[in-house]
């Protein structure tokens, strides 16, 4: 086995992307399904290699300290690959109906996934930045994927400008930290910061810039401005993509940079993160109430959920990090399902992105109204759905850390949040719609979406194994 064996998955994916790209060049539009299948095969192969990598008890560090392979990275990668695959399956019909069923979509998606995987395994500031840029550039292009749509172009432009500024700020923060410590490796960074006296203003400066970068990637208030516009403007399949897998990358970024690299400065970044988290909960939940567009509403709901994830890090204990991981995973599953429903409801010339488009869904399709009901109550945090245990684990970590008032604030905001999720249920069940026909979609989308909803119920009834898994990888 060569020394770089733990990075095989990334290497395979990079090669796979080239193969998909080149194959796609020679395919006529009618044969585009081959690209789709190749992309999925590429994902399956990457997942298989990732899961097959045998890890030592201690984390393996490769490429002169820029790449780490540990149980956390393996777990997150497999999950990210799975969710990207789900996103690909959901979006095929959507793309085809809008005449944007092109190979580039899959190539860009796979590139984004590669960026995510690099971020997950980043062990130096530079690798993190590299992964982030690889992810972001792919996403900018994906948002603008529908050339004909002016709103998508506007969203892409906003995303690009703000994203570029955020990357610049992050890079600046990294350079300051490098200047102070003389190292890019996260472990060396941590030891050097530990040795120096805490609260150095230069470290503080670098830390704040890095926090801005992390908050932007998550979409935490006040760095959330891009999120509603991008979610609304992008084609729904791209919104689905942005709303799911990159959140895992953002979580990995927060863990690697803040906990592993800057853990000794926790006393400094925890209060800042507390403010960001509470603001996210407040702004996300309150502004979501005013929305009439479901994609925009889900964008604000994302901001609120990010507030919860950040609270897990604010708790500052082992339980808090496990809870943040668990919450991220559950949130990603819920977001995939919710945007999947938007895709299911839409058809050519009809985006199904207004809330009113969901009126009377129970009469049209009781089954999918039920699935949406699962998703909405899970997002609200009502048992027996998985969203409840996600919220509960964060609250437990906060109470354990003695931050009971934060737990109380968080639950009160989630009551406000309940209102707009209930509104969807109300529209589906209590109101009569004009449209009487059942939504049409391919069998693959219907089965996978149903599973998506049922998984949330199953994880709500039996959360034990996932909680244990999170605890096992988060050491």
């Amino acid at each position: 086995m060569p020394e770089f064996a733990p990075a095989f998955a990334e290497i395979f994916l990079a090669v796979g992307i080239c193969v998909v790209l080149i194959t796609d060049l020679f395919l006529p539009q009618a044969r585009r399904d081959i690209t789709y299948i190749l992309a999925l095969l590429c994902l399956v192969g990457t997942a298989w290699i990732s899961s097959g990598i045998e890890l030592d008890a201690s984390p393996t560090i490769l490429f002169s300290g820029s790449f780490i392979a540990d149980p956390l990275s393996q777990f997150l990668k497999i999950f990210a690959i799975a969710i990207v695959s789900v996103g690909f399956v959901y979006s095929r019909d959507y793309l085809r109906e809008r005449g944007i069923y092109r190979g580039e979509y899959y190539v860009l998606g796979l590139f984004a996934l590669l960026g995510i995987m690099v971020m997950i395994s980043a062990f130096s500031l530079l690798t993190m930045y590299l992964g982030l840029e690889m992810l972001s550039l792919a996403l900018y292009a994906m948002v603008a994927f529908d050339r004909e749509s002016p709103i998508a172009a506007e969203a892409a432009m906003k995303y690009f400008v703000l994203g570029a500024i955020a990357s610049g700020i992050l890079l600046y923060g990294m350079s300051i930290l490098y200047g102070v410590t003389g190292s890019l490796r996260l472990d060396q960074l941590a030891t050097k910061l530990m040795a120096s006296d805490p609260g150095q203003w230069s470290v503080l400066l670098g830390l704040v810039f890095i926090l801005v970068g992390v908050a932007f990637k998550f979409g935490a208030v006040p760095f959330h401005m891009w999120l509603p516009d991008v979610y609304q403007g992008a084609p729904t399949s791209v919104t689905l993509f942005i709303g799911t897998a990159p959140k895992i990358a953002a979580f990995a970024m927060a863990i690697r940079l803040l906990v592993e690299g800057l853990g000794s400065e926790a006393a400094t970044w925890q209060p800042i993160l507390t403010v960001l988290a509470v603001l996210s909960l407040a702004v996300g939940n309150i502004l979501a109430i005013a929305q009439t567009n479901i994609k925009r509403m889900l964008a604000y709901s994302t901001i609120a959920h990010v507030g919860f994830i950040l609270l897990g890090l604010v708790a500052g204990n082992q339980a808090g990090r496990e809870a943040a991981l668990f919450y991220t995973l559950i949130y990603v599953i819920m977001a995939a399902g919710a945007f999947g429903m938007v895709i299911l409801m839409s058809r050519t010339g009809f985006e199904a992105d207004r809330l009113d488009d969901y009126k009377g869904l129970n009469a049209r399709s009781p089954w999918f109204a039920g699935i949406m009901l699962f998703l909405m109550f899970s997002l609200t945090g009502v048992p027996p759905f998985a969203g409840f245990f996600a919220k509960w684990s964060i609250l437990a970590a906060l109470v354990d850390a003695g931050k009971i008032w934060l737990a109380a604030v968080a639950v009160l905001f989630s009551v406000i949040g309940a209102f707009y999720y209930l509104r969807i249920v109300r529209l589906m069940y209590f109101d009569q719609g004009l449209d009487r026909t059942a939504p049409e979609a391919g069998l693959d989308l219907r089965i996978l979406l149903s599973l998506n909803g049922l998984v949330l119920l199953a994880l709500g009834l039996f959360p034990d194994w996932l909680l244990r898994m999170c605890a096992a990888v988060m050491t």
Binding site: P366, P383, W392, L395, V399, V411, S414, V425, F430
Partner: protein, 505 residues
Amino acid sequence: MSLLSTLIWLPICGGVLMLLFGDRTVGGSMWRIDRWIALAVSAATFVIGLLLYSRFDTTTSSMQFVERLPWVSAYKIEYFLGVDGFSAPLILLTAFLTPLVVIAAWDTVKDRPAQYFASFLILEGLLIGVFCSVDALLFYVFWEAMLVPMFIIIGVWGGERRVYATIKFFLYTFLGSVLMLVALIYLYFQADSYSILDFHQLPLSLTEQTLIFLAFLIAFAVKVPMWPVHTWLPDAHVEAPTGGSVILAAVLLKMGGYGFVRFSLPVAPDASQLLAGLMITLSLIAVVYIGFVALVQNDMKKLIAYSSVAHMGFVTLGFFIAWGVIDQTDSVVGISMGITGGMVQMVSHGLISAALFLCVGVLYDRLHSRQISDYGGVINTMPVFAAFMVLFALANVGLPGTSGFVGEFLVILASFKASFWYAFIAATTLILGAAYTLWMVKRTIFGPVANEGVAALYDVNFRETLVLAAIAVFVLGLGLWPAPLIDLMSPTVDNLVAHITQSKL
């Protein structure tokens, strides 16, 4: 599978199956299969409930029929079920009323009947789950999950303002219970277990107890509901379909009262003592003020809803009168009288309010109005129905010989031991309750036939008679011979009294 698990999961599985099966008929509309499944499942659940009753040991206060399995072992959450004297009567009440709700909706629910029946079956399982849970988080899961079917029931099959009512109901109760979750988590870290029995034994400082008591109070006071957080109830009751009102009044409200005896009193006895004055004041306000509010209602359902708030005031009064009794008499007899009275009142109110809502439902199915002014002289066209209605109205007033009397009498008697004025104020309900209930009966049932609508009324059919008669038997039975019910709970009550009279400080 064990008895309690069967009681919980049989109706839930039945409900889920019905949802999957959808609205189907076999051999024409006579054999709409959904309602037969619903009846079979709910009747089977009731039979299992009777089995539980027959095997219930009335000599012990410890948990019976215990089932204990690890659930989320990472956090020591268990699937821990058990019943004692507080939960058994409420489980029986739930299992008894659900088949009646199904029968009452037999052909009156036209819109999506399968979903209607399925919602009630799932709700039944979840409610029984609330009463069976000995693990606090399991309790919370059932407690919250029950909001989902109730939200759907009110919102889909309710009246004109159903959307407003159901969202208000959901948000009110959700707001009430989230702080309880924080309190439960706090208790977990103190006790290192989610078992409610461990919570009971936990020594806590007075500050901790007070904060925990208040967190619980918000959750339970909203459910009971206590004045001033009762405003969701009239809306929800009025807009809910008949079956929804029945379950809401008969069982859902009891969850709040159950919470007080299961959590607040034993977990935070010293805080309960500290805040008993507040609780008694709120209870008396509910009894008197809400009694007056009920007097001026024009809508029959609203009147019964306010009457529920007033009657539930007796329940909380009975639970919290304990420390007043200790101050005055130094004996524990009065305390157990108050708590027993509160429990009996819960069961009795469950039966009577259910019956009254069913009576209004019978009228509503015929004239599609709940306004008192649209009726008058119903006795002329519906004599059998009028007999039932008058019986339940008298039971609501607390006439001796009906179950309504037993609970109220015990609570007033216990209040007397604490203070003459408590008893005096509480006893005004005998006048107020009589005033609003009997005045309503006078205006709707008696007198000459008011209009053509009433003249065209036809009397209750076999199905409706069956439902009303079934409840009437228990209302009279428990009124004349309440001993079986009191025996069921007396060891548990005594145990609770012994527990709360010992300070945790």
